[in-house]
Symmetry: C2
Subunit: 258 residues, 2 copies
């Protein structure tokens, strides 16, 4: 497929890297020409920074920009590519944000966390596709299959639920690691001591029901330790961590008494 990408951030970069070779990357469009050029030069694509420069002779345009910019991007580009299949890559944006403006639209959502520092294992990354019509759905299916073994046809509602769950499983668990690091940093204790625990906890949750894997003072209903931990956080004047400790412990307690 001949593919152009709008966006030059983490998702655009990893998608371009995954698609490159099997598909032809035609143009990379970013408001910042320097960013577009930086990405385009890696994949022998053309860098552009204005919608009127978009080639219409392509099979697919991928919008890989921040969620809040998707609506304005489709409004800018629709007139230049009225007949081209255009998809967004967002877990939390309904297909109709594109459909309202552009009939041939779809979704190509990779459920993964992207950083520029780390390579993505595309073959194991779940890809969720959705399209306005059956023909485009099939096109997206073939494209997704060229990247990953795990391709799913999901409605916008299902995808939005999955994305909400991902905020808990990924963003919030990462913030738990961050809070743990803040606690040990303050005592000059090395955060790397917690690595085996972090990895084991994650692996356990992917091999068993995490509810069954819950451990810790709240799970055991150990009020002495719960009080001691609250006191330790109070002594360090970390009301923020104390609030999190209190809320999550309370919920774990109630959840496991049911």
């Amino acid at each position: 497929m001949r593919i152009s990408i709008i966006g030059a951030g983490r998702v655009a970069f990893h998608l371009a890297q995954g698609l490159n070779g099997q598909h032809e990357l035609v143009q990379i469009y970013s408001r910042s020409f320097a960013k577009a050029e930086q990405l385009a030069s890696k994949f022998k694509a053309q860098a552009i920074n204005a919608p009127e420069l978009l080639h219409s002779e392509i099979d697919l345009l991928i919008i890989a920009v921040s969620d809040q910019s998707i609506r304005s991007v489709i409004e800018q580009v629709h007139a230049y590519l009225p007949d081209v299949l255009i998809v967004h890559t967002s877990g939390s944006t309904h297909l109709n944000v594109l459909q309202d403006v552009h009939p041939r639209s779809g979704v190509f959502y990779p459920l993964q966390t992207f950083s520029l520092e780390r390579d993505i294992d595309w073959s194991n990354t779940p890809l969720f596709i959705e399209a306005d019509n059956a023909e485009d759905q099939e096109k997206l299916h073939d494209l997704a299959n060229s990247l990953s073994n795990r391709v799913y046809h999901y409605s916008s509602e299902q995808r939005l639920s999955l994305h909400l769950a991902a905020v808990f499983a990924c963003n919030f668990s990462n913030y738990c690691y961050d809070m743990a690091k803040q606690i040990v940093d303050a005592e000059q204790v090395d955060f790397s001591l917690l690595y085996p625990l972090i990895l084991e906890t994650a692996h356990k949750a992917t091999e068993n029901d995490p509810r069954q894997m819950q451990t810790g003072p709240a799970m055991r209903g150990d009020q002495n330790i719960l009080n001691m931990h609250q006191q330790m956080l109070a002594n360090r004047q970390r009301a923020d961590l104390q609030n999190v400790y209190q809320l999550l412990s309370q919920q774990i307690l109630e959840h496991h008494q049911k």
Copy 2:
């Protein structure tokens, strides 16, 4: 070393399995004889269920019981083993809980999450030791070294900080997985779709500062998505998840605006 263990739960089981072979397991003591017998029979040790049956001809007694029972256990056994080195295995119990009753005391704390279903990689498990005197400290150091390459001499205060951090990194991140599962379960979406994300998030946090790895709508300050997610949880009448979502998002927002 000739070692006896009090307790027949997860920590006792994994410790016995780790120590067996290199050391002699003499007795397993549990209030429940059946549980003691179940564990002891695996390691050719004697099962007992009363403190007066403890052999005093041992090098070390390990108390591997719940945190809140440590004090009563040391009070029960001290008179029968007045000269034996006795350690507990708790991250959150000060050494003086033993010292107050029994002079030759110490701590042997493995920083790991134990389930009966999964084997422990002892060689990579950080072990934290502490003892009343230098000679016992050295004994515990040798014992720890026979299990793990990562042995640390930590004060009770440092160990308590580490354990508090572990509650955030392990217990709370597991509860985040649990909440994510509750969200997808309600929509008949398969939780296993989140496995790559969960594992990648954990691995990232062990290779980089988790603060730098934070992603998600709160990190980006994306108020539209934050409001939409709150609304989705409200529609499902999950005030518990909404409270967690609100608190953690608020803190991530503030933490990353600093």
